[in-house]
Symmetry: none
C-alpha cells in the first residue's frame, strides 16, 4: 500500500511525482516477495504487490539484480557496520562468533540468496561482488584477529565460509525456519569446528 501520504482516503491510484515512494514500495515489495518465493519470483508479482505497473519496476530496476541489490544492500551494510561494534566490545573469538550469528540471522530470512549467489547467472554478479568486497573482508578481519589471539586454529577462506553459512540457511519452503533454529545450530557447529585442532 504505497502512497500513504495521499492525505485523503480517496482512490490512491495516481502517481506521485516522487518516484522515491514507488521505489521504496518496490523494494519493500521485493523484500517480501523474495522472502516468500525466493529471488526468482515473477517480476509481475513484485510490481503488483508494490501497486505499480511492471514498467515502473523496469524503469527503476532494469535488471533483476538491481532490485536484489537494493533489497539486500542496506542490510548488508548494517551487517558490516555491526562488526566494528562487536570487535570493540568483545574478545576476538567471541566477536567472531557473534558476528557470524548476526550474519546468519540476516541471511536466514533471504530465501534464494544463496542460490542466487551461486547461480552462475551473470545477473547476480553484482550481488556476489558486493559479498566479496564488503562482507568477505569483514569476516576476514575477524578471523585474523581470532587466529592471532589463538582462539581459533583452523583457517578458512572468508568467502567460502560466508557461502557455507548462507547455504546452511537454505531452509526452503514457504515456511522458513519452521524447523526452529536448524540453521543456527549448524552454523554453531561450523564455528566450533574452527576451534578444532585438526580437521579430516
Amino acid at each position: 500500500m504505497p502512497h500513504t501520504t495521499d492525505g485523503d482516503g480517496g482512490e490512491p491510484r495516481r502517481q506521485r511525482a516522487d518516484a522515491r515512494l514507488n521505489i521504496d514500495a518496490l523494494v519493500e515489495a521485493a523484500k517480501a516477495v523474495f522472502a516468500e518465493s525466493g529471488v526468482d519470483a515473477p517480476v509481475r508479482s513484485i510490481a503488483e504487490r508494490a501497486g505499480v505497473g511492471v514498467g515502473t519496476l523496469y524503469r527503476h530496476f532494469p535488471l533483476r539484480s538491481d532490485l536484489i541489490s537494493a533489497v539486500f544492500r542496506r542490510e548488508m551494510d548494517a551487517c558490516v557496520a555491526a562488526a566494528t561494534d562487536l570487535e570493540a566490545a568483545y574478545p576476538p573469538g567471541e566477536a567472531l562468533d557473534r558476528w557470524v550469528m548476526r550474519y546468519t540471522q540476516f541471511v536466514a530470512t533471504k530465501r534464494g540468496l544463496a542460490g542466487a549467489l551461486h547461480s552462475g547467472d551473470p545477473a547476480y554478479e553484482p550481488l556476489a561482488e558486493y559479498f566479496s568486497t564488503r562482507l568477505a573482508p569483514t569476516l576476514e578481519r575477524l578471523l585474523d584477529a581470532a587466529t592471532e589471539s589463538g582462539e581459533i586454529s583452523q583457517r578458512v577462506v572468508a568467502g567460502e565460509f560466508l557461502g557455507a553459512v548462507a547455504n546452511l540457511c537454505h531452509d526452503g519452503g514457504p515456511t522458513p525456519s519452521r524447523s526452529g533454529g536448524r540453521a543456527e545450530r549448524m552454523v554453531r557447529l561450523l564455528l566450533a569446528g574452527l576451534r578444532s585442532e585438526d580437521v579430516g
Copy 2:
C-alpha cells in the same frame, strides 16, 4: 503380441520387459539431465534423452518427484549399505567421518537435490521421506556409536545434519565444484564441530 498375462514362464512377458527398458532408460536419462541442469530441468529433455515420448515418462512417473526418487533411491541405498562396511572396519568416530564424506560425495553430484529437499513443494515429499526413513537412521546409528565411544560430544539431529551437508554441497551454477573441494572442506569443519566440547 503374446502373453498379455504376467506370470507364465514361457516367453518372458514382452510387454513388461519393454516397459522395464523404458523405465530404465528414463531413470538413466534423468540422472544425466539432473546432473547437468538440476532437478528442475524440462521434462521434455529427459524424455528425449531417454528416447521416449513425454507421455511415456508421465505414465511411469506421474510426479516429478517419482523420477527424482527413482534416480536417487539406488544411490541412497548404496550409501546406506556402505555404512555397515565402515562400521565393521573402523572405530566409531572414523566410521562416522568416512560415511559422512561418502554421503557428501554422493550428494555433491546431485545438482538441485538440496533445493528440492527443502523446496516445500509437496512434490518432493516422497524424496524427503526417503531421506528420513533410510539415510537419517543410518547416520543416527553412527552418531550414537561415536557418542558412546566418547569420540564426539555434540549431539545433533541426524536429519538436520544430513540436510546441512546437502546444503553445503549447493555449488549452484553451471560449473559445480569449480571451487575445488569447498563443500568437502566445510563438511569437515562440521565434523570437527561435533568433537568440540561446547558450542555457542
Copy 3:
C-alpha cells in the same frame, strides 16, 4: 476453420493425429494474415486464425522465417516452373516480359515481402536465400536469352531487378492494389527500360 474432415457437425475442437491439417491451417492462416498485416504480424494472430494454440505454431515453425518460407515457397516454385513453359512458348523477349509480370503478380499479393527481404533481420535470411538460389537464376536465364536475341540492350543484375520489382509492388495499406495496377504499370516501365539504348 481447420479440421473440416471431422465428418460430423459437432464441436471441432479436438486435435487431429494428423498434424498435417494443423500445419496446413497455419500456412493458410499465415498467408492471409501476411496479406492483411504484413509479415511482421503478431504470431498470436496467426495461431488464432488457424484455430490453434501458439505452442502448436512454434512446434511446427520455430522461427518466423520458417512460416514465411512455408507460405511463399510453393508459390515461388510455381513461379520458377512457369519460366520453362514461357521459354518454350514465346520468343526470348516476350518470355522475359511475361515471366516478370507473372512474378509481379505473385509478389504483389505479399505484403511485407520486400520489406522482409531487405530487413537485414537474420530471421529472413532463408527467404532471401531462396530468392537468390531459385528466382534469381531463373530471371538470369531469361535475361541472357533476351540479350542474345538482341531484344534487350540493358543488362541488369537479376537479383537487383527482382528486388526492384518486389519493391514496386509495395502497395502498402490494408487495401492492396486499391490503386489498380500501379505496380504493374511501373514494372512495365522497368521492362521497357531494358530495351532502351542508353541509360543515364
Copy 4:
C-alpha cells in the same frame, strides 16, 4: 516570466523562443533517428536525442506523422525549388532526368519513408497529402514539358511515379545502400522506360 503575450517588440517573447528551440531540436533529432532506425523508431529515442522530455515531443507533435512531416517538409520544399532551376538550365528531357535523380537522392536517405507513405496508416495521411500537393505537381510539370518536346512518349501519373521511385529506394536493413547505387540504377531504368515507344 514576462511577456506572456506575443507580439510586442521588447523582450522578444522568451516562451516562444524556447519552444522554437525545442521544436528545432526535435526535428533535427527526428531526422537523425529516422535515418538511423527508420520512421518507426521509438518516440523516446527521439526525445532523448533532442534533450527534451517525451511530453514536450507530444505537445508539439501529437501525431507521429506531424514529426515526419516536419522533418521532410523542408527537404521536399528544397526539392520542389530545385525543379525551377533545372527547367531553366536544361532541355525538358534532361531537366526531368536530373530532377528525378535529385528526388531519388533525397528519398534514398529516408529510411521507411516509402513504407510510411503506403502504410495505409491514417497517421501518415498528411505526409501523403504533402506529396500530392507539392511534389506531384512539380513532376507533372516536368513530364508535361518533356512530353511536349517529344522527348518522352510514355505518360505516367506523377504521383505513381514518385511512389515508385520511393519504393525503389527501399533498401531496408541496417546497412542502407550497401548495394551501392542499386536504387539509382533502377530509377534510371524507369526513366529510360519513359522514352520507350510502347510498353507491354
